[in-house]
Point group: C2
């Protein structure tokens, strides 16, 4: 019943053609400090510099660009409290369509405003009593909208794969590619691109310790559900892998490693002070894994996808403040 190859390298190439001139071709940063700390050449693909500040625009735009003119005239729907919301809102605007985004009532105002700023209509729900998928699907059916899910869609996954495609085109051979894992869309697309271009490459996913659903699922050989994770890596707070993404990842992902919230904080600080780039917690997990020595072997050339950078100054400083074992009671400079 399941297509063994729901997304192919050709699909990623097709997505790259659609994204050309619309998405940014993001830079690949190098740092001798980082190389020395890791003991390898590290190539950092900066999707925090992507439009809307995260890779999510790639998948959302690729999926939206394949809708018919009639469908674009009716509009697009999505559910997300995070970067996918802004991604769909911007993709709709770019294509002359409209978007309705379902967000939890307690979504930070800055994210609601950013999404509304791209012209989207926002509907809210209570995250403790409502089911976002059911609400999104009912909304789409009622208004005749096309629903673009955050990862369970071949066009979304193919779009996400274009970041790895660009990275490999730019830097040539890589021994390993290290990618954050949330619902699994980014790594499914990345692995499709990477293994398609370089069959020998190791694809390593990184999850926060509290959110190890994909690691457990790969070990079990089937999708395993965990309690909703508590982690600062809010983009990786999935409690079960996607069905479609897991069907890809169980074939193509070599290994999942875990990082602690403190290791993520340290990676964010290092990125700020040495690389001079702003990375949100979920986006910093691959660097955290390298810096904390979570890889079994450290091969000579490692690619890293930094997935996003959407965090405000205050939250960033709060997360990076020195800690004395107390939750968010860290000292600050000058105090």
């Amino acid at each position: 019943m399941t297509n063994p190859f729901p997304v192919t390298l050709d699909d990623v190439h097709d997505a790259a053609v659609r994204l050309k001139g619309v998405a940014h071709r993001t830079p690949v940063l190098r740092s001798r400090t980082l190389d020395a700390l890791v003991g390898a050449q590290v190539f950092v693909k900066c999707e925090n510099f992507q439009r809307i500040g995260a890779f999510k625009f790639r998948g959302a735009y690729n999926a939206a660009s394949r809708l018919s003119p009639e469908q674009l005239a009716r509009g697009i729907a999505a559910y997300s409290s995070g970067n996918h919301a802004q991604a769909v809102a911007l993709a709709a605007r770019e294509l002359g369509s409209t978007a309705v985004i379902v967000m939890p009532e307690d979504t930070p105002r800055s994210k609601v405003e950013a999404t509304a700023g791209y012209g989207a209509e926002i509907l809210t729900y209570d995250r403790y009593t409502g089911d976002r998928v059911a609400i999104g699907e009912a909304l789409a059916a009622e208004r005749g909208l096309a629903l673009i899910p955050p990862y369970e869609h071949p066009h979304v996954i193919a779009g996400q794969g274009t970041a790895a495609l660009e990275l490999l085109e730019e830097v040539g051979e890589l021994d390993a590619l290290v990618v954050p894992v949330g619902g699994g869309g980014l790594i499914a697309g990345s692995a499709t691109a990477a293994k398609g271009l370089r069959p020998g490459i190791r694809v390593i996913g990184v999850e926060p310790e509290a959110g190890d659903d994909t690691k457990r699922s790969l070990a079990a050989g089937e999708r395993v559900s965990i309690p909703v994770p508590r982690t600062i890596a809010d983009g990786q707070a999935a409690d079960i892998p996607g069905e479609l993404t897991f069907s890809i990842n169980k074939r193509l992902v070599d290994e999942i490693v875990l990082v602690s919230d403190d290791e993520i904080r340290a990676a964010m600080r290092l990125a700020f002070e040495r690389l001079k780039v702003v990375i949100e917690p979920s986006g910093a997990t691959p660097l955290a894994a390298l810096l904390a020595g979570r890889l079994d072997r450290v091969p000579p050339r490692i690619g890293v996808i930094v997935s996003g950078g959407n965090i405000d100054v205050e939250r960033f400083a709060e997360l990076c403040a020195p800690r004395d074992g107390q939750e968010s009671a860290g000292r600050r400079s000058g105090e």
Copy 2:
């Protein structure tokens, strides 16, 4: 007596050859948000991604690379509390030489450690009673060291000009180039490169309001001294233009505009939250000038040199905290 062309475009090209493979060719970032706010296409040359986190490495390395093997064996001296210290320390190490850096006693520990981390010897002096130029010159004479000044040197100026050279090579035509002004070395090199390649380009310098020595000097037609400025832009706290740099800038710089410390803070926050890059106060002054509408005319294509990104998380958050008119008593998120 004064050479009317102490630094030429050829000198900048020569420096670029020496820096190839040693300095980073830093990326040029674009942002649709920034373009929309400014009303122009803005090309951001990110010298915060340069080695040691600032453009200063270019000039220091270019000057050091021209020393004789005998001189390199004796060593290099410099005086600086900031990025030039690290730049000379790293340049010396790269060339197999040694460096002695004269720093004020109250230099932040992180800067002392970073400089020492490149293998330099650190000597301190009391900034209220000592004269750093005299101390540096005496030290160099006593130990037979080559003194590399922060800006009053043709090879330093030529090296700094390579950032503008790379920017123009990469993006083609620009109507204006906006550059921070401290001692005047970066803008002297930038203007030499830019006017040499594109005689019609406007070269606009930016100073903090409190540190307008170059603006006053250009208006007076001669070097004017001001009280030591109090500004968050510590890299631009010069109280008089350099003699050599002013001789170049009075011919090649079209205009100096001023920005307030609050405008610099706003530009730093925008760079963090929208561009996802970390910029130190001095480095943010060109963006501040554009965002605050300080240019008389806004031409279609504007290049900006972001000169550095050396600032720690705590200081950054403190500077960017919302203010109620009280010095550093700003509210923070969650408070």
